[in-house]
């Protein structure tokens, strides 16, 4: 059994914010407590993550380009019960084969790791295109050698508040599937697809999103430096193709002494909706219209410095900056320069990460995905 805890205190400045001007906010983000463990030689496992952003950032985190759950240009707070998953994995044939079953509240089998476990503090714009999160989910898994095939059933509705729970009456109205390949222990590829019904309408009175993702991830020591790189491409179609959104993201990080240097490039399409305030859109939407589509091209660079790393803990001040270009895609009345007063933005974050047991934690991966091929039950139950 292992426990983890962490939080990030961060001061973020963004210029410009919606409707013009500059804003600086000091917040505590990603305050989490969690743990995972296993029984019966790893055949039964559990994983839990509690997230307290409903207390620390009820109005969301300043994130230019971010959107989802009624927030825009802010990242929504996660739910208190971020993950409560349990399951079973049954490998055989020396680990060449395996089946698994996972259930609870967490991430359906789709896309890439949740950004919470990745190097940049800033969540990408494509968070709701590249992950599906905080659902009541059942996932079945099958492994043969290097390949893991997963399928999930879950409720389509997104949380409406940090204290909200999945609408169990809608369980099964949405599904996803993911194929993961690990040619080596440090290299993996995935392709996944999902059909999510009306995520923005608690009563399922919206349209279906058809989602596709493909990506790869590498984590290895290069010239003695722990390094990481990932890239992904997503396509989301909504309302039978009335709206289509694309995203490409690539990021990488490497250790240089006590420094962790990282970079992310992202180009993501975002729907522009009628706003009820500078940072909020109505939920549920009052009709099926958007005002246009914007394309966010973002370069993010950052540096974390481990000033103290006692045991399994880390204390890391960091600096992270982003340069952002916003362009209008296609038609519609939304005009980026009119709304933001500029089509180029910047953000700068200074802060401190503290964590215990958070090293290498990958959010949203369960069962056979956590247990590499060839391992025995009970081995490698922690994230790499």
């Amino acid at each position: 059994m292992r426990w983890m805890a962490g939080a990030i205190a961060v001061s973020t400045t963004v210029d410009p914010i919606p409707e013009g001007g500059r804003l600086t906010e000091l917040r505590v983000v990603q305050p989490v407590v969690g743990g995972h463990g296993a029984f019966f030689n790893g055949k039964i496992w559990w994983k839990a993550t509690l997230n307290f952003e409903g207390i620390t950032i009820p109005e969301g985190e300043l994130t230019p380009g971010g959107f989802g759950e009624g927030f825009v240009d802010r990242r929504h707070p996660h739910t208190y019960a971020h993950e409560l998953m349990a399951g079973t994995t049954l490998p055989w044939g020396g680990g060449k084969w395996g089946v698994g079953l996972a259930a609870g509240k967490g991430f359906p089998s789709f896309g890439s790791d949740d950004p919470m476990g990745r190097d940049p503090v800033r969540f990408p714009v494509n968070h709701h295109w590249a992950q599906i999160l905080e659902r009541a989910v059942v996932t079945g898994q099958f492994r043969y050698r290097l390949v893991v095939l997963e399928g999930s059933l879950f409720n389509g509705d997104e949380p409406e508040s940090p204290g909200d729970q999945p609408n169990l009456g809608r369980f099964g109205d949405s599904w996803s599937a993911r194929l993961s390949v690990n040619p080596t222990n440090d290299l993996e590829f995935q392709t996944s697809t999902a059909s999510v019904l009306a995520p923005e309408h608690p009563e399922a009175e919206g349209h279906r999103q058809r989602m596709f993702s493909i990506g790869g991830r590498l984590e290895r020591s290069i010239a003695g430096r722990r390094s990481y790189a990932m890239a992904e491409w997503t396509r989301t179609s909504e309302a039978d193709g009335a709206f289509i959104f694309h995203s490409f993201l690539g990021e990488g990080a490497t250790n240089v002494g006590r420094h962790r240097l990282y970079y992310r490039f992202e180009r993501t399409d975002r729907p522009e909706e009628e706003r009820i305030s500078a940072f909020r859109t109505p939920r549920p939407p009052l009709d099926d219209n958007i005002l246009g589509i914007t394309r966010w091209t973002i370069h993010t660079i950052g540096n974390r410095f481990a000033i103290w790393r006692p045991g399994n803990a880390v204390i890391e001040p960091f600096v992270e900056g982003s340069l952002i270009q916003v362009d209008k895609v296609g038609e519609g009345i939304f005009n980026t320069r009119d709304y933001y007063t500029k089509d180029r933005m910047w953000s700068l974050s200074l802060g401190m990460r503290v964590g215990l047991g958070m090293m290498g934690h990958r959010m949203g991966r369960y069962g056979l995905l956590v247990q590499p091929m060839g391992s025995q039950p009970g081995e490698h139950l922690h994230d790499q």
């Binding site: 608690p202 009175e205 009709d287 296609g330």
Partner: protein
């Protein structure tokens, strides 16, 4: 409803500063002691006189700053004339109580200053007589009321038909009785999305047979749209049947109006402009062959029509992008207006006699849709004569003038001022706010109807907890 008057004029003594600031003084000439309601532009301008050593001081810049409240001054700075006078107007914010504006010499921090204080009284709230929950699918979009029957357009729940005093089922505005529900066809779109309706009373056949229902499908505002007109046979209000539909390729329907005498349905079609549809006789199946005329008032790429209304033999159209138009009612060719609301996106319209009112929507180049435009319907087309600012909102989503022409009622969304606004039209170009209901989630549409000799407003309350809210406005009529 007593109106309190608080008179306060604050003058600070000039500090002991060498040079000009010592001898400069400001005094209030006019505009103090006013009393009003939220959102109103004060009828009397604030006027100050600047003096230097007791002599009028021309060419002095005066800064006007709202010091209490969130209203606006216009202009925010002005230059004194030969008599040392400078002035500004004050449009009140949404705060009840005291609102203040301070006048100072620009750039001279320690010179004299004066403060105008206005008492803003609460605006009376119309009594709510009923609140009918509507299924959250997503909720209620619009209501058409006629002869004591209310047709609630409840999006994916379809049409809900209520007796509110005319259906023979014992219903009343304070106790609606449901007669029927009907979910209109969705295909080829994914959802029914029942948006608006019109119950056709045909003076030629004496029939009240058809209900026209608009479907609002997915679209990109300003560019494209989708959704058809669905026709229900409501000969038996308890058992409606869908009998016909109309599809305009490449566009989706929004609001309707009818020339019932000529049996013509006019429909706003967003990027498809305006259509005229022959709805005479028996309606069945595909009505595409009954299209009489179609126009894009602002031209291709500059047309996104929200609503239409026939008044005095002329058809008026409110286009989100290209403004307020007058069209020929037969050919639909524009005959006046247009390109006359460049500062904001337009929303709904209502014409009454020689005047018309249009709402505004969202954010256009940073300017919110927080205004009601007032038009004179002149020979050459609509002429803008004034605007009413509605503080604390982002959109005027709907508006209507009562049949007797005495009240203008508007629904508003976004921010702390969302709700229903009731204006008296004693002077049609200067609506006077007399009633206000604040609803935090906003009211999407408001429909006025006379039932049993009383005037009611049927409001569509937005989610969460969508509902048909019915208010009695009778006491607000003069």
């Amino acid at each position: 409803m007593g109106l309190l008057a608080i008179a306060t004029a604050c003058v600070t003594d000039p500090p002991d500063v060498p040079g000009n600031p010592d001898a400069l003084a400001l005094t209030i000439v006019d505009g103090d002691h006013q009393v009003s309601q939220i959102g109103q532009r004060l009828p009397r301008r604030y006027v100050v006189r600047a003096t230097l050593n007791g002599t009028p001081a021309p060419n002095r810049e005066i800064s006007w700053v709202v010091s209490v409240g969130s209203g606006r001054v216009d202009p925010s700075s002005s230059v004194t004339d030969a008599e040392g006078l400078a002035e500004t107007t004050h449009t009140l914010g949404p705060e009840v109580g005291s609102q203040e504006v301070r006048a100072t010499f620009a750039g001279i921090a320690e010179a004299a200053q004066v403060t105008f204080v206005t008492q803003v009284d609460p605006v009376p709230t119309p009594p709510r007589v009923a609140s009918l929950p509507i299924p959250a699918n997503y909720g209620i979009h619009d209501t058409f009321v006629r002869d004591g029957i209310a047709f609630v357009c409840a999006w994916n729940s379809g049409i809900i038909i209520l007796d509110v005093g005319g259906g023979g089922a014992g219903g009343a505005p304070d106790a609606p009785v449901q007669l029927a529900t009907f979910v209109t066809q969705a295909a080829p779109l994914p959802t029914p999305a029942a948006h608006n309706a019109w119950w056709f009373h045909n003076p030629v056949t004496q029939e009240r047979r058809y209900l026209f229902v608009g479907q609002e499908g997915p679209g990109t505002i300003g560019a494209n749209s989708s959704g058809d007109i669905h026709v229900l046979d409501v000969s038996d209000l308890a058992n409606p049947m869908e009998v016909a539909s109309f599809h305009l390729p490449g566009a989706g329907v929004h609001n309707f109006w009818m020339d019932e005498a000529r049996q013509v349905l006019y429909a706003a079609y967003y990027n498809g402009g305006v259509i005229a549809l022959d709805v005479s006789g028996v309606l069945a199946g595909d009505l595409s062959g009954r299209l009489l005329a179609n126009t894009l008032p602002g031209g291709p790429g500059n047309t996104f029509v929200w609503g239409v209304m026939l008044v005095g033999g002329s058809l008026y159209a409110s286009d989100m992008i290209s403004g307020f138009w007058r069209l020929d009612r037969e050919t639909l060719v524009p005959t006046g207006g247009g390109s006359n609301v460049p500062d904001r996106f337009s929303s709904d319209l209502w014409s009454a006699g020689s005047y018309a009112y249009t709402g505004t929507w969202g954010s256009r180049e940073g300017t919110l849709g927080s205004a009601i435009k007032i038009w004179e319907l002149a020979v050459g087309g609509p002429v803008l004569v004034d605007s009413v600012l509605v503080p604390g909102i982002r959109t005027v989503s709907d508006l209507q003038v009562s049949e007797d022409g005495t009240l203008l009622v508007a629904s508003a969304e976004g921010a702390e001022g969302a709700g229903i606004y009731v204006y008296r039209l004693t002077e049609p170009t200067k609506p006077q706010l007399v009633g206000l209901v604040l609803v935090d989630t906003g009211i999407h549409t408001v429909t006025l109807a006379e039932v049993g000799g009383k005037l009611y407003a049927f409001g569509a309350k937005n989610p969460g907890d969508p509902a048909l809210e019915i208010y009695d406005l009778s006491s607000f009529r003069p």
